[in-house]
C-alpha cells in the first residue's frame, strides 16, 4: 500500500493555477526528489500536501484515506511534517523552543527527541538559548529540520533545504538524511540542487509549469533527459 498518493491534484492561488493534475505515489520508506526550475510548482505541491493550500478531499490520500480537505494542523497530527521554504523559524522563540514547538500537542512517539536532535546537529546544543533567527543560515536550517523531526513524522516534506546556503553547508545538511531515513521517515525532497537531491533519493520527478514532465530512478535518467524535462527543450 502506498503511503501517500496524489490523484489529479490541482492547486490555485486565487485565479492563478499552479498545479495541473499531479499524480505521484510515495511508498513507505521511499525518498522522492522533486526537481524543477523556479515556478515549476514544486513548492505548491508540498504546500498542497501539507494543507497550507486547500485541495479537493480525494486528490491527496494518506494510507488510502482522503486528506486533501484537512487543515495544516490536522495533517501535521497525521504524521506529515514540513520543513518550509526559507526555514521560517519563529523569531520570538529561542532554538530549543523552536525545536520543542515541533512536538506541540503530538502523540506520536519515536526516536526523535531534544537529545537526539542535538546529537544529529551538535552545533545547536550550545546555542539552545539563543533566538533562532540569530543563527547562521545553515544552523537555522538545522533548527528547521530538527523542528520537523521533533514530531516523529512518518512523512517528511523538505522544501528547498539548500536555498541560499554554501555548498559545504548543504553537504553537511544532506549528511543527516541517511539517519533520518533509518529512523523511519519517508521523504519528499523538493530541490533545485539536482546533484544533492539525486544522491539521497530513490526516485526523481521533474516538474515544469505545474505538471510532471519526467519521473524515474536516478540511475536511469540521463542528464540530457533531465535537462529537457527541466527546461522543456528537445534533447540536443
Amino acid at each position: 500500500m502506498a503511503l501517500l498518493k496524489t490523484q489529479d491534484l490541482t492547486a490555485f492561488y486565487g485565479n492563478f493555477q499552479a498545479l495541473f493534475g499531479i499524480n505521484i505515489t510515495l511508498n513507505q520508506d521511499e525518498t522522492l526528489a522533486i526537481i524543477g526550475a523556479n515556478g515549476a510548482g514544486k513548492s505548491s505541491l508540498l504546500r498542497s500536501i501539507s494543507g497550507v493550500l486547500k485541495s479537493p478531499s480525494e486528490s491527496i490520500l494518506l494510507d488510502d484515506k482522503p486528506i486533501g480537505h484537512l487543515d495544516a494542523d490536522e495533517i501535521t497530527s497525521l504524521g506529515i511534517a514540513m520543513i518550509p521554504e526559507g526555514r521560517r523559524l519563529f523569531p520570538s522563540l529561542n532554538v530549543e523552543e523552536n525545536l520543542m514547538i515541533g512536538a506541540h500537542g503530538k502523540k506520536q512517539t519515536g526516536y526523535w527527541n531534544l537529545n537526539n536532535v542535538y546529537d544529529l546537529f551538535p552545533a545547536l546544543k550550545e546555542k539552545h538559548n539563543q533566538p533562532g533567527t540569530s543563527l547562521s543560515g545553515g544552523e537555522q536550517q538545522m533548527v528547521a529540520m530538527g523542528r520537523a523531526l521533533m514530531s516523529n513524522p512518518r512523512l517528511l516534506l523538505c522544501d528547498e533545504i539548500s536555498l541560499g546556503l554554501a555548498p559545504v553547508v548543504i553537504k553537511n545538511l544532506y549528511e543527516a538524511f541517511p539517519k533520518i531515513k533509518k529512523c523511519g521517515a519517508s521523504l519528499i525532497i523538493v530541490e533545485q540542487d539536482i546533484v544533492q537531491a539525486m544522491k539521497v533519493s530513490d526516485r526523481v520527478c521533474c516538474m515544469m509549469e505545474g505538471k510532471i514532465t519526467l519521473s524515474g530512478r536516478p540511475d536511469d535518467l540521463s542528464m540530457g533527459m533531465i535537462h529537457a524535462a527541466y527546461f522543456g527543450e528537445e534533447e540536443s
Partner: protein
C-alpha cells in the same frame, strides 16, 4: 508633601490602568487585533460581579472568582464565533465589528441597569490604610497595584514558560508556519481572548471597588489602557505597567494643580511620550 502623596497615589493608580491594559496588550500581541469593546467588556464585568453579589450575596472577591470562568467562556465564544471570522490582512473589519460591539454593549447595559452609577463594596478594606512614615497609603490602592504585578507575573509565566505560551508566541510570529507545527491559530486566538477576559474581570473588580461606574465609562477605560500599552511599547507587559504608572502619575499630579486637568494631563503625558519615543519606552527588539 502633597506632591509626594499624589506621586504615590498616581503610581498605585497606574496598577489599575495596567490591569485595564494587560488584556488589550495580550490580544494585540498575539493576533494584532485591537478590541475597541475592551473597556465595555470590563464595565460589563463589573456589572456581572454586582449581579453575583446581589443575587448570591457573595463577597466581591468570591464573586470575581465565580465570574472568571464565565468571562473566559464569553471571550472564547466572542473570538471563535465573531472575531475569528473577520481577522485577516485588512484591519477594517475587526475594528468595525468591535466598535459595533462596544456601542451594543453600552446600550444593553444602559437598558438593563439604567444610567445610575453603581459601586462594588469591599467592606472595611475600602477605608483601611497603612502609614509608612509621613505617607498614608490606602490598602485598596496597594492591593490593586500588587494585583497588577501578580497578573503580569502570571501572564509572563504563561507566555514564556508554558507550551501554551510557546504556541502564543509562535502564532504571533507566523500563523501559517505555526499551523505546520500542529497549532490551530484560531483556537489559540480563542484561548488568548478568554485569558484576556479573565484579566478583564480582575480589572472590573477593582474598577468597581475604587470608584463609581455606569454603562458609559467603557471607552474612557479603553483609552487609558491603550495609552498605557503605547507608552510601554507593544509586546511588553512590564512596559504596559510603566505606561499605566505614567498615566496615573500624570493624572494625580495634574489634578493636584487643578482638578479639571486630571484627565487632560494623562492624555498629554501620552502625547509627549509618543512624540519623543514613538515605539514606546520598552519596545520589543523585533516586530
Amino acid at each position: 508633601m502633597i506632591f509626594l502623596d499624589s506621586l504615590i497615589q498616581g503610581i498605585l493608580l497606574g496598577g489599575l490602568y495596567a490591569l485595564f491594559a494587560a488584556g488589550l496588550s495580550l490580544v494585540f500581541g498575539i493576533m494584532r487585533l485591537v478590541n475597541l469593546a475592551h473597556g465595555d467588556l470590563i464595565v460589563f464585568g463589573a456589572y456581572l460581579i454586582l449581579l453575583l453579589v446581589s443575587l448570591l450575596n457573595l463577597n466581591v472577591f468570591v464573586a470575581t472568582l465565580v465570574a472568571a470562568p464565565f468571562m473566559f467562556v464569553l471571550g472564547w465564544i466572542l473570538q471563535k464565533f465573531i472575531l475569528n471570522r473577520v481577522l485577516g490582512d485588512d484591519i477594517l473589519p475587526p475594528l468595525l465589528v468591535t466598535f459595533g460591539l462596544s456601542i451594543v454593549m453600552q446600550n444593553v447595559l444602559l437598558e438593563t441597569w439604567s444610567a445610575d452609577s453603581k459601586r462594588l463594596s469591599a467592606g472595611a478594606l475600602e477605608t483601611a490604610s497603612l502609614t509608612i512614615g509621613p505617607i498614608n497609603v490606602g490598602i485598596m490602592p496597594l492591593l490593586i497595584f500588587i494585583s497588577a504585578i501578580v497578573v503580569i507575573l502570571v501572564l509572563n509565566l504563561i507566555i514564556y514558560h508554558t507550551s501554551l505560551g510557546r504556541a502564543f508566541r509562535a502564532t504571533s510570529d507566523d500563523p501559517v508556519t505555526a499551523s505546520l507545527m500542529g497549532i490551530k491559530p484560531k483556537n489559540i486566538f480563542s484561548v488568548a481572548t478568554g485569558l484576556a477576559m479573565i484579566v478583564a474581570i480582575i480589572a472590573a473588580l477593582y474598577l468597581g471597588v475604587r470608584s463609581n461606574f455606569d454603562p458609559s465609562i467603557g471607552p474612557a477605560r479603553l483609552i487609558y489602557a491603550f495609552e498605557a500599552v503605547i507608552i510601554g511599547g507593544l509586546g511588553s507587559l512590564w512596559g504596559t505597567l510603566l505606561g499605566g504608572i505614567i498615566i496615573g502619575v500624570a493624572q494625580t499630579v495634574g489634578a493636584t494643580i487643578n482638578p479639571e486637568w486630571q484627565i487632560l494631563s494623562g492624555h498629554i503625558a501620552f502625547l509627549l511620550v509618543l512624540m519623543v519615543r514613538p515605539r514606546g519606552l520598552l519596545p520589543r527588539a523585533f516586530d
